[in-house]
């Protein structure tokens, strides 16, 4: 393994319960936390719904995993970003989120993506 930390980004871009992507993304981030790398997490497009408060999916038979995002901090994942345009265009504010994510503008998203070594898209 390289001595230098790798810049790895996990991108949540799909809604949390229509597919397994979001759940698998969360599992991935928690594992990555153990590797002591420069990990960042981005919520964009419908991915912003993954961290929405107060979801009731009891009728779906699928576990509500959104509160588990609160564990990210305990896993030393501190770089958590949400795309402002994606969030606002879906009628959400920061108060609607289960975790404290930093709001970033779309041009910043682009710049951050250019800096990454590798991505995980969910």
């Amino acid at each position: 393994m390289n001595d230098e930390m790798a810049k790895l980004m996990v991108v949540f871009r799909t809604a949390p319960y229509g597919s397994i992507y979001s759940f698998e993304g969360l599992e991935n981030v928690l594992i990555m936390g153990a590797y002591d790398q420069d990990v960042s997490v981005l919520f964009i497009d419908d991915g912003v719904f993954a961290i929405k408060k107060g979801m009731d999916n009891s009728g779906t038979g699928i576990k509500d995993f959104s509160p588990t995002f609160r564990a990210l901090e305990a896993y030393d994942i501190e770089k958590i970003f949400i795309d402002r345009t994606s969030m606002e265009s879906r009628g959400l504010t920061k108060d609607d989120l289960v975790i404290d994510a930093e709001l970033i503008e779309s041009d910043t998203v682009e710049k951050m993506m250019e800096e990454q070594k590798n991505f995980f898209m969910f």
Partner: protein, 119 residues
């Protein structure tokens, strides 16, 4: 260049597995190194030796096994995704090993590029 590959889709339903196989062949032919292929989500279904496509169709698992054994490429099948789908080491074909998600993180750290195949 050191490449890592992720295969996210089941064989036959989508073209993702076929594209991944073609990509692997092309990359190797160009002299690139493939460190590992990580089979994830429905992609774990690429690993089963129980698949029996009709005789005039391609056999995707055998294509993978051929590429892997000829070029000494590690194929890792995500354990959590595999267990959900009834895949364990009694059904995986030659060349495929069941492994953890951490091996995907390690791949991302070591590979210059991570190439993902999905629908």
């Amino acid at each position: 260049m050191k490449l890592g590959m992720i295969v996210m889709e089941s064989p036959y339903q989508h073209e993702a597995s076929d594209s991944a196989i073609q990509f692997a062949k092309a990359a190797l032919a160009k002299g690139h190194e493939i460190l590992r292929v990580f089979f994830y989500q429905d992609g774990v279904l690429n690993s089963t030796k129980l698949m029996e496509p009709q005789s005039d169709d391609r056999h995707i698992q055998k294509q993978w096994t051929a590429i892997g054994t000829e070029n000494n490429i590690e194929f890792i099948v995500c354990v959590a995704a595999a267990k959900r789908r009834g895949i364990n080491d009694t059904v995986t074909a030659e060349g495929f090993t069941i492994g953890g998600l951490g091996m995907l993180t390690e791949l991302a750290i070591e590979a210059d590029r991570l190439v993902e195949f999905r629908a």
